[in-house]
Symmetry: C2
Subunit: 334 residues, 2 copies
């Protein structure tokens, strides 16, 4: 099992594989680039290679196909390289200098297409819908286990987004403790008795400087303190705390909106690496008001440098006002 360890100086958590170590020469990155795994012949995520993955957890399949065989459109397996296990009890240890938490959790891979070459942003809208419906299903299943405290959904596309497999996929990690990165939502609610994101959407709509697009159910804008150039947040207009609360009409609208955004972004930004991540409320913890889930699409143009890793600051060479203006202009012509 990996261990979550706390850095006492920087007050930051690190997930560390304590029982294994990559051989220094086996890292996926070398001086010239990252080795991204998998031609379609040996790719564990391709139809026909189902035996190369762990057993199927869930899938969207043809009626007459059997699990762990071809015939699927979306397939979920547990991550082969993850050391997280949903076994035993949570164990938190604090000593004078060292805090740890055992790697109680589950890491799953949601393969959104049986074909090797099809990128997520090139999927038809109804196939994007299937992925988000599956994520909702897995979110619900995992949050039923009271040992799970947070479910992080994320996608790495490309070398500079941290991808280690070429075949498009989304990941989900059920964690034994919620990350401490949405404190602003709770503080704002405590002080104002209002949801920060709900109020922020109103303000951004009025100011109209960073707004990119509004669909029926979603609000797209480049946040004021964008960490990444062209970073875009997609917020449900309806106040909902958990991603799993998304409704069927909202899923359809989200898929359509994401597709529309990607049609613009991929061309405008010259097919960049990107992450899609979902921020949501923690599960199985004492209730605190103020959460509101949202999705981020973060293009990745720069590698985090020494200034950023030491100061903790991000550096972004593109003002979000300029990014939003460019994206807005194009998306309104779509």
């Amino acid at each position: 099992m990996p261990e979550l360890r706390k850095d006492i100086v920087k007050d930051a958590w690190v997930i560390i594989a304590t029982e294994q170590a990559l051989n220094p020469h086996d890292f996926p990155i070398n001086k010239n680039g990252v080795h991204i795994g998998g031609s379609s012949l040996s790719c564990p995520f391709c139809a026909g290679n189902e035996a190369l993955t762990t057993p199927e957890i869930a899938a969207v399949r043809n009626n007459n196909s059997r699990p762990n065989t071809p015939g699927w459109t979306v397939r979920v397996v547990s991550s082969k390289y993850s050391a997280f296990k949903l076994e035993g009890e949570l164990s938190i240890n604090d000593s004078e200098f060292y805090s740890t938490c055992n790697g109680l959790g589950q890491q799953e891979v949601i393969i959104g297409s049986p074909e090797h070459e099809v990128e997520f942003h090139n999927l038809p809208v109804d196939r994007i819908e299937l992925v988000y419906r599956m994520l909702q299903q897995r979110y619900r299943a995992l949050s039923a286990d009271s040992r799970v405290k947070y479910i992080q959904i994320y996608k790495n596309k490309g070398l500079f987004a941290g991808a280690s497999q070429e075949h498009s996929h989304t990941q989900l990690l059920a964690l034994p403790m919620p990350p401490d990165n949405q404190q602003g939502l709770l503080t704002y609610f405590e002080q104002k008795k209002q949801c920060l994101l709900c109020v922020l959407m109103e303000s951004e709509r009025e100011e109209n400087k960073r707004l990119v697009f509004e669909s029926e159910y979603f609000f797209l804008f480049c946040p004021f303190a964008s960490r990444f150039s062209y970073e875009t947040w997609i917020i449900p207009k309806r106040h909902t705390e958990h991603f799993a609360e998304i409704t069927e009409p909202e899923i359809k609208d989200l898929a359509l909106t994401i597709k529309k955004f990607f049609n613009v972004m991929i061309t405008l930004l010259n097919d960049p690496a990107y992450n899609i991540v979902i921020n949501t409320a923690p599960v199985n913890v004492p209730y605190k008001e103020g959460h509101h889930w949202w999705l981020e699409i973060n293009p990745r143009f720069l590698v985090r440098n020494g200034l950023e890793i030491s100061s903790g600051y991000y550096i972004n060479p593109v003002a979000p006002e300029l990014a939003a203006a460019l994206l807005r202009e194009k998306i309104n012509k779509e």
Copy 2:
């Protein structure tokens, strides 16, 4: 001037270039890799190309050479691409959702070698000394300006460490506010009336699981919650808050120790990208006890992925105990 902007949700600061925007097609990263600037012909950091940089701020030179001409061993110029300026007054603005701070500061480049091909880790020990002596000199000069609150020293070596120039160099950024990443030192002192790093060195020496090496004046170990595989901290044994307090014998020992460490690390880890960063006490702020400066050498094998950017956690596939064992074994044979 760039702007420091605060993310109200995540409580994180971002340095944003508000008055300029990279053209989407001009980013240094494309799908296949990062374009690292500069052959030795057009490289602004090479001897003979002094006219391609901003005017020289300081240098170590032959007695009979003039500024901005060849004849130097170490040369300091202000960064051509930085928008930080040490002009005017600090301006901090807080509105309901948005906090900003103007980019009052100075970014300098310390070129440690006139030759294009010589990496920092290949410099002879006496040339490494010159670099740290120059950093001390620039640290002192910049901290004399009361508008400067923190001086971040950092080096990016290679593509995956965020370097944008091939020719080896170290950077220094004088900032208008100290980063909030050493809170653990202050909290520990408040509670225990002892310096955390001083006590931690004793404990790590006794435990002897993550210790890499001890020189006369410095203590090298892989920290318990290492964010990067083979991350190594080099701490002065003498309790000193600011890097600028380093003495002449300590500079000599630091250069020797860094050289010794790199002799092992570069071979063991297959010539990786790396950052060298210095953490130090803030300057020109009300005094708080508990700071102790230290230097980090962080090899960079992985690109930060979606899980890491969303949760804020780092992921490290090599336990620091295993990293330290490997490094210790080799360094003791040096």
